[in-house]
């Protein structure tokens, strides 16, 4: 349907971008390379700088230092209106005094006369785009007459009308309810596969980022903590922040005893630092906890406190008296009955895998000294 310019190979190169606002650094030396046709998510809590980064790319804000190059050309030199960027906002930002069709046509109608398509061509293009976003027949309505999901699709059609080389989405589903959000998310993914348009979207919803994006950049305090595929971000988090921000996780403080890092009965073999670091933190995903570890292997004895059955997944709350620590474990809902799990049951619990960070001291403000992805040798089954 839409003709995509496939011959351009436009790599977007962000290097050493910094942006300070009066009281904090919104961006702190951010470098990132975005491949043509890539679907990248900027994921982070509010105030992490992800929106500032998007606004800089859109030309609505400028960095204090650093550069953005598109195919070797200085991207920041062009003002916003010359960048050919499709921008979609959280609250749609539709022109409420214009009809849906007029909204979509806006970017074409404001062009200089010699670049402006004929009225007929504009009308055809609008019709095409409305079909594309599954809103054909809605052209004569006003935005106030549409639902949130429909409005956001109008905003997307409007952004696509100018044939952008880059699509930027700022929390595009943030104002929608859960059901619509899910549908629109899948739909956007399909659209991206059709258009092969470089797309960057900002979100604080990790599920959204992991499900949609080819690559995710996790941001925190103006820095990029990790860039990688959703799988890498989830399975091999690079920093403690990523561990804690993405998914649920058990945070376990480890100490060195007898040359081995461990916590209570659970001791890790083969730590790579040769006892150099006395403190470490292990992050264990709830689904990476084994619940029936045989007597031959080290494990904590834990008491099952609660079982929260949430559809297909059961969340278990386990209490380990020897550590005075509560653990969270996730298992498939059907396994609850299979294992005969009742609150009060005694279980032998140990992690099957963990990401371990060596720290210079204990406590919250400790600095990371090293990272180690640990796997149980003969991983017991749940």
């Amino acid at each position: 349907m839409r003709q995509v310019d496939t011959e351009t190979t436009m790599t977007l190169e962000l290097s050493h971008l910094s942006r300070r606002f009066t009281d904090f650094a919104a961006l702190d030396d951010v470098s990132l390379s975005i491949a043509p046709g890539e679907f990248l998510a900027l994921l982070g809590p509010s105030g992490s700088g992800k929106t500032t980064l998007l606004r800089i790319l859109a030309g609505l804000d400028y960095p204090d230092s650093g550069s953005v190059d598109l195919d070797g050309q200085n991207f920041l030199a062009a003002p916003a209106r010359e960048r050919k960027i499709g921008l979609v906002f959280q609250h749609y930002a539709l022109f409420r005094h214009l009809t849906v069709a007029e909204n979509v046509a806006f970017g074409l109608r404001v062009r200089k006369r010699r670049l402006r398509p004929s009225k007929k061509a504009i009308a055809e293009r609008v019709e095409q785009l409305l079909q594309r976003v599954q809103l054909d027949g809605f052209g004569h309505r006003y935005p106030t007459q549409l639902s949130g999901g429909q409005r956001q699709r109008v905003a997307l059609a409007r952004a696509l009308a100018v044939e952008p080389s880059l699509l930027l989405l700022d929390e595009p589903f943030g104002a929608l309810d859960a059901q619509v959000r899910l549908t629109l998310r899948r739909w956007l993914r399909e659209l991206h596969e059709d258009l092969e348009l470089t797309t960057i979207f900002v979100t604080h919803d990790q599920e959204e980022a992991l499900e949609l994006a080819d690559r995710v950049a996790v941001m925190n305090r103006g820095r990029i903590e990790q860039v990688g595929t959703p799988e890498a971000i989830y399975q091999q988090p690079a920093t403690p922040f990523v561990c804690e921000f993405i998914g649920k996780v058990n945070k376990l403080p480890l100490t060195l005893s007898g040359g081995r890092l461990g916590m209570g009965e659970w001791l890790l073999d083969g730590e790579p630092w040769n006892g150099e670091h006395a403190h470490a933190v292990a992050y264990v995903r709830p689904e990476h906890l084994a619940l029936d570890v045989p007597e031959t292997q080290p494990a904590w004895s834990a008491r099952l406190r609660h079982v929260y059955l949430a559809g297909s997944v059961a969340h278990l709350e386990l209490y380990v008296p020897s550590l005075d620590h509560t653990l969270e474990a996730d298992i498939a809902g059907e396994d609850v009955a299979k294992l005969g799990l009742q609150p009060g049951a005694q279980l032998r619990v140990a992690p099957r895998s963990a990401v371990v960070f060596a720290m210079d001291k204990s406590g919250e403000d400790a600095a990371v000294q090293g990272r180690w992805v640990w796997q149980a040798k003969n991983a017991p089954h749940a």
Binding site: R81, A93, T144
Partner: protein, 274 residues
């Protein structure tokens, strides 16, 4: 029937209607009754008098002109007050209300003192053939003065609530700044601008105190319709005064209805919600 959050619809509607009747409609009815004393013949004679016609024309054309000026300048001032932060902004903001607070006669005297042929500004302007005081421009100047706050005060809250991301969307779609202003911002402000215009217009049509000082009240030239009414009263021609009042009233009413229709058209996008 839809359940209302606050009870007492019947009571409050009854009270509002009774109040409106007592304060607005009753005096108007008295005016109409008084005016009917003049008879059809008298009315025709009154309206066909060139002096009456000239006064009505000055009142309405002058007020429209003043309201147009106020719409432009008011938009500019409201824009500056809302969009920019500068030292003295609050003072500037407070000054806007001054024409509301000042007794209109004081404003008239002040304007006259400025623009009279021997006044501060008049002594420089009059020798160049620019006559403001005791001429129609003076009338319009006074009307601009009293109507000014209406446009600013109606536009301000709407301007403040305009979403910036709409402007940013326009910019990223390739719109230049003038295009963003004329195609996006102005259409959204237009209904409110019309409200301010209508208020300023109504105020200017009915203005008496400040105008008569600077107008000089030269029949056929700088005499406004309200002054003519006062003159008729002084001559004990109550029916004539009432009839002229009625004519002004009807003309104003028609004007306001036209503005209101225009306003409805200009905000057709907000008329129907889901």
């Amino acid at each position: 029937m839809r359940r209302r959050i606050l009870p007492g619809f019947g009571l409050s509607l009854g009270y509002a209607l009774a109040y409106l009747g007592l304060i607005v409609l009753l005096p108007l009815a008295a005016l109409a009754w008084k005016a009917s004393g003049i008879g059809l013949h008298g009315l025709i004679r009154l309206l066909s008098s060139p002096r009456t016609f000239a006064a009505l024309k000055l009142s309405f054309v002058g007020a429209t002109f003043a309201a147009v000026v106020n719409a432009f300048v008011g938009l500019l001032v409201a824009w500056v007050l809302v969009r920019y932060r500068f030292p003295g902004r609050r003072l500037f903001d407070a000054l806007v209300d001054l024409p509301f607070a000042l007794p209109t006669a004081v404003a008239g005297i002040a304007l006259t003192a400025l623009y009279a042929p021997n006044g501060w500004l008049g002594q420089w302007l009059v020798p160049h053939g620019i006559q403001i005081a005791y001429a129609p421009p003076g009338v319009i100047l006074a009307m601009v003065f009293v109507g000014f706050p209406f446009v600013v005060r109606t536009l301000q809250p709407v301007l403040e609530s305009l979403d910036r991301d709409v402007e940013e969307a326009a910019e990223s779609l390739g719109a230049s700044h003038p295009q963003t202003f004329f195609r996006v911002i102005l259409p959204m402000l237009f209904p409110t601008l019309l409200t301010g215009f209508a208020l300023a217009l109504a105020r200017a049509v009915g203005e008496y105190g400040s105008v008569i000082f600077i107008a000089g009240n030269i029949p056929m030239r700088s005499e406004i319709a309200p002054l003519l009414i006062v003159e008729k009263l002084e001559e004990f021609d109550y029916a004539g005064a009432a009839a002229l009042g009625m004519v002004m009233l009807i003309a104003s009413f028609v004007l306001l209805i036209v503005i209101s229709l225009l306003q409805r058209w200009s905000r057709r996008w907000a008329e129907h919600t889901r």
